[in-house]
Amino acid sequence: MKIRRFAGFAATIAVGALALTSCASAGTDGGGSTADSSGGIVTAWGSEPQNPLIPTNTNEVGGGKIIDLVFSGLVYYDADGAAHNEVAKSIETEDAQTYTITLNEGWTFTNGEPVTSESFVDAWNYGAQLSNAQLSSYFFEGIEGFSWDEDSELTGLQIVDDTTFTVKLKQPEADFPLRLGYSAYFPLPQVAFEDMDAFGEHPIGNGPYKVASEDAWQHNVEIALAPNEDYSGDREAQNGGVTVKFYETLDGAYNDLLAGQLDVLDQVPDSAFSTLEDELGDRAVNQPAAMIQTLIIPMDLEHFTGAEGQLRRQAISMAINREEITEAIFEGTRTPADDFTSPVIDGWSDDVTGSEVLDYNAAKAKELWAQADAISPYTGTFTIGYNSDGGHQAWVDAVANSLRNTLGISAEGNPYPAFKDLREDVTNGAISGAFRSGWQADYPGLYNFLGPLYGTGAGSNDAGYSNAEFDSLLAQGSAATSVDEANEYFTQAQEVLFQDLPAIPLWYQNVTGGSADTVSNVEFGWNSVPLLYEVTKN
C-alpha cells in the first residue's frame, strides 16, 4: 500500500487559505508568461521520499512516483488499471500456483547491465529477507520459502535461463500476475547489492527515466529525471524529462500551478475544491481513485458481537448520509461507496447483493437499532477514533452527529494527535470504540481490497474479523485460473461482508488534481498518480 498523509501540515494553515480562495474565484488569466523554456521538462508535484529509493523499501506515494518512472517491472498498468507486459514477454500458469515467466530480450539497466532472470530473482530475495527489514517484504509472503521468523531463501524462485524463471507460490493466487507491476517486484542490477545505501541515493533502473545526474536529488527540494534513451517498452518518455518538486504545503503548490511554475499537481488543497473548476477548467481532474475510506468497529467491541452486533452495524451504516457528507464536507471530492473495493478496479459492481445497507435510511436504521436493543440495551458512548493530522475531523463529527440524531445515542469523535498514535492503539488492540481506516490498493485487483483486510488473521485485519465462508470464497477465487471467474467468487465474498460489516464502507476517495496550460496529455493512472511519461510540454 502506498501511504498518503500529506494533509497533515496543510490542515494547520487551511484556515488562511479559505479567506483567499474567494478572491481567487474571480478567474485567472492563466497566462504562462513566466513558464520556463527548459526544453520540454515537465515539473510535477511530489513529496520527499520517506525511504531510500529501493523498490522493496518504498511504500509511500512520494517515493513510489519516482520509483515507477525509474524502474520497469514485468508488467505495467495503463490508465484504466489494466496490466500489460513490460519486461515480461509472457507469464504463464496452469494451476494459478506455478508461474513461468519469460522476459523480453534486450532490456538493460542504465549502467549497461542486461536485465535477466537473475535481476528479478536476486531483487525479490533481497526484499524478502527478514534481516533486510524491507517495508514491502510482505509482497513475497506468498512465494514458497518465505519466512517471517528468519532469513530464508525464496525457494519457489527457480532460474531456468537468462530470460526464463519460474515462481512457485505456497497456494494458488489467481491475481499474482496482476501484482507484478507493483514496485516491490521490480528488478535490481548487481551493483545494488554491493552497497544498498548508496544505491538508494542513486538508483539505477531500467525504466523510461533515469536519475539525471549524481546530484539530481536535492533532498526535500526536488529530483530531476532525464529520459532513458535505451528504454524500449511502451512507456516511452514523451517529454524532455520530469522534475518532481517536493512541496511542504498543497496551498503553496496550487499557487505555483496557477502561476505557471508547476505543470502537474496530483492533489489540490481542500481550500481550492470549490474553485477548482473555475480556475483550471477542463484541466481539473476529479475522479474516483483506488482508495476507500471505511469505519471499523472491532468485532469484539461490547454490544457489537453476534446477532446484536450485526443489527447495530447495519443500523449505523444506514444512519450515515454518505451523499450529504461527500457533498457538504468534501465538495464532491469523495464518491459514496457502493461496495468494499473501488470503481477503478476491474470486476467492480455497484449492485452487489446486500449493498443497500450503504444507502441512507433513517427509519430502517432506527428499526434495526431497536431490534438490537431488544437483545441487550445499548449503553455508553459510541466513539470514532481518527488521526487529527489527516483532515478527518469534519466528517467524523458529521457522522457522529448523524448517529446521534438518527439513533438517539451518544456519539463523538475520539481524536488522536497523529497518524502514528492511532495506528499504535489499533495495532495493539487498545482502541475502545470504532475508528476510521483507509485503504489504497497496491495493484488493481478486487482481492487486494478483501484478502489483506478481512481474511482471517490477515495483516491488516484491524477489526479482527473471521468468517469461514468468506475465507473459503476468497480461497476459491484465488485458485481460479481466470480473472473473471475469480471476480465472481470475490463478489460473493463481498455479499458475506455486507451481512457482517467488519468495516462500514463510507466513500471512495477521488483523485483531485490538475495541470497548467503549459502541458498537454495529462492522464491520471488507476493509482491516482499522473502518467508522467505521457505528458507533453506545450
Partner: protein, 308 residues
C-alpha cells in the same frame, strides 16, 4: 572582555547537555510508535518492525538511547533519519537556507522598523505617526499565514513580480517575499519600540542639555537620542534572530522552503528523535550566541556598561 566572552561560551556546555537531555526526553515521551507508522494503514509485520527498531536503537531504554546519541555527537555522527540520510546532511541542507532567510528578515525589520520608528517618534502625534501606528497594529493583528498567502497570491500569482515559491531556486530574489512575510510582525514591534523610545528620550535631561549646548538637531538625534533609544530595540532584535530561525515554519511552508521549520515539523511527526534533538539544540545555541552578541552590543551603545 575576552574573559567575559570565554565564560559565557563555557556556560553553553551545561546548557547544551541540559537542552539535549530535556528535548530527547520530550520526544521519547511523545505518544505513538514511529516504527508502526512506517507501515501506514496496513501496519508493519512485527518481525520487520523489530528489525527497524533495533537498527535505530528504539528498542533500548531511554537513558541508553540518550547516551548512545551523546556518544554519536562526539564522533560527529548524529545518526540517520528513517530514510537513511545522515542527520548532519539534513541539517546542512536546512540551516543555510533558514539562516539566509532569517538574516534577510532581520535586516528588513531592523532597517525599515528603525527608520520608520525614528521618524514617527520625532513627529509624535502627527499624521505619519498615527498612520504607521495603525498600520503596524494591523500587521501584528493579522496572522502570518494570512499575510503570506495574500502576498503570494497577489505578488506571485496575479502580478508575477516575484516567484511564488522558493524550492530549488534559493536566491536573494526568491527569498525577498518570504523574508518580508517572516519579518512583518517583528517589523511592527521594532517600529513601535523605536518610536516610543525615541519619543521618550527626546524629553530626557541629557537631550535638553545637548540642545541647550547649541548642538545641531541631526547631531542631537543621531548621537544623543538614537543611541540611547536603540538599547531595547537591539535586545529585541537579538532574541528575534533565534525566534525567526525556529519560527519560520509557517512561512517556509507557504513558500516551499526546505528549511529548519519544515525539517523539524516532519521529524516531530515521524518521531525521529535524533533529528529533533539535533536541530533544536542548534537553535538553542543560536539563541545563546545571539544573546551574547546583544550583551556585547550594549557596551558599544552605552558607555556606562563595561564587561570584565
Amino acid at each position: 572582555m575576552a574573559w567575559y566572552v570565554g565564560r559565557r561560551l563555557l556556560q553553553m556546555i551545561p546548557v547544551f547537555l541540559g537542552a539535549t537531555l530535556l528535548i530527547y526526553a520530550m520526544v521519547f515521551l511523545l505518544p505513538g510508535d514511529p516504527v508502526a507508522a512506517l507501515g501506514g494503514e496496513r501496519g508493519l509485520n512485527p518481525a520487520v518492525a523489530a528489525q527497524i527498531r533495533a537498527e535505530y536503537n528504539l528498542d533500548k531504554p531511554f537513558l541508553v538511547q540518550y547516551l548512545l546519541y551523546l556518544q554519536g555527537i562526539f564522533t560527529f555522527d548524529l545518526g540517520t533519519t528513517f530514510s537513511g540520510r545522515p542527520v548532519t546532511d539534513v541539517m546542512a541542507d536546512a540551516f543555510p537556507v533558514t539562516f539566509q532567510l532569517a538574516v534577510m528578515a532581520l535586516a528588513f525589520e531592523a532597517v525599515f522598523g528603525i527608520a520608520a520608528g525614528v521618524i514617527a517618534g520625532l513627529r509624535k502625534g502627527k499624521a505619519f505617526d498615527a498612520t504607521v501606528l495603525v498600520l503596524s497594529l494591523l500587521v501584528v493583528a493579522v496572522p502570518t499565514f494570512v499575510i503570506g498567502f495574500v502576498m503570494q497570491f497577489v505578488v506571485g500569482v496575479k502580478l508575477r513580480w516575484l516567484p511564488t515559491a522558493v524550492g530549488s531556486d534559493v536566491s536573494f530574489t526568491s527569498l525577498i517575499m518570504p523574508a518580508i512575510v517572516l519579518g512583518a510582525v517583528s517589523f511592527a514591534y521594532v517600529l513601535r519600540l523605536t518610536r516610543n523610545s525615541v519619543a521618550e528620550n527626546l524629553t530626557a535631561d541629557h537631550v535638553r542639555t545637548a540642545t541647550a549646548k547649541g548642538l545641531s538637531r541631526p547631531r542631537v538625534v543621531s548621537v544623543h537620542v538614537l543611541r540611547n533609544s536603540l538599547i531595547p530595540v537591539v535586545t529585541f532584535l537579538g532574541a528575534d534572530l533565534g525566534a525567526l530561525m525556529g519560527g519560520a515554519i509557517i512561512t517556509e511552508g507557504i513558500f516551499n522552503i526546505n528549511g529548519v521549520g519544515g525539517t523539524l515539523f516532519r521529524a516531530i511527526q515521524q518521531g525521529q528523535s535524533t533529528t529533533v534533538v539535533s536541530v533544536t539544540t542548534v537553535l538553542v545555541i543560536v539563541y545563546i550566541v545571539a544573546n551574547l552578541l546583544v550583551d556585547l552590543l550594549y557596551a558599544a551603545l552605552d558607555p556606562r556598561i563595561r564587561y570584565a
